[in-house]
Amino acid sequence: MSSFFEMPTPIAARRLFLGHSGLVLSGTAIALLAGREALAAQSGVADPKDVQILNTALGAELEAIAAYQLGAESKLLQKPVLDLALAFQGHHKEHADVLAKTVEKLGGKPVAAKANYNFPADQLKSQADVLKFAAKLEQGAVSAYLGAVPLFANRDLSKAAASILGDEAMHWAVLRQALGEVPVPSAFVA
């Protein structure tokens, strides 16, 4: 039997270790997403579908970071709104960071940010345009996480995704408020 100490790369060693350990991924998943490395080190074998769900979410988070960067650099946002946009971008960076780490911990390869994103930059001519653009992305993110939550084999990952969903929903509500819209338009999200 090969020792995981003999593996050529840390990833190979981890895969071998996880394969032999027979541990089942448990409540440590939520610790993974919270970035608590010591607890995360106890993780076990993951469902490949869970890794794919996390990677799809990661791709959307990386795009959201780039979208807020576009807004921040547009010179269309006035100071209080700019601060808000940067704070929300910071949340997306935190989401992306823990999603990427979790994908790695589970033996997957995190997707990378694209070199270019196809944003409708020519349609952003005012602060309201930027806010509407961001609000639609956040609303879409709420729906995307809602659609992902029931799919995880590991219910702790569902819980973690629901935690991110809650954050995205708050972003969406605050952006609606900034646009002068009813911040919470209904009792349920879809």
């Binding site: 795009e63 939550v149 799919l151």
Partner: protein, 131 residues
């Protein structure tokens, strides 16, 4: 009295039937499409591929888009029937797809979404891409 009650029951039954089989509405579909906008756009590839040109397109065939192997070998051609089936449970229809979304359970909502996608495919935004 009995006749009035029969009339009311009949009217309610007609309403229920109308609700269950409402004609697909592209305007409602456009509102529902916001749910897709974390990953998709009409005219640009994002986390998911563009939707312009979707109707009649073979799944996994947008040049330059990084599809899952499962989607590329699915053999699906997108039309109202295949979209309805896929949107109901994406991962059940194409296991291994990167569209990790539970699906649109409501058949009327799916019909509205598909009506919007069909309408959008005929829009100037999409037709302009073909040029």
């Amino acid at each position: 009295m009995r006749a009035a009650r029969r009339g009311l029951v009949g009217a309610l039954a007609v309403c229920a039937l109308a609700s269950a089989h409402a004609a697909p509405d592209a305007a409602r579909g456009e509102q529902l499409y916001v749910r897709c906008m974390a990953c998709h756009a009409l005219a640009a590839d994002r986390v998911g591929p563009r939707h312009c040109g979707l109707i009649g397109r073979r799944a996994g065939s947008v040049a330059g888009f990084d599809y899952s192997p499962a989607m590329k070998r699915s053999g699906i051609v997108w039309n109202s029937k295949t979209l309805d089936r896929f949107l109901a449970k994406p991962l059940a229809v194409v296991p291994g797809s990167t569209m990790t979304y539970d699906g649109v359970a409501d058949a009327n909502e799916r019909a509205d979404l598909i009506a919007y996608l069909e309408q959008a495919n005929r829009s100037s935004e999409c037709i302009g891409l073909r040029g």
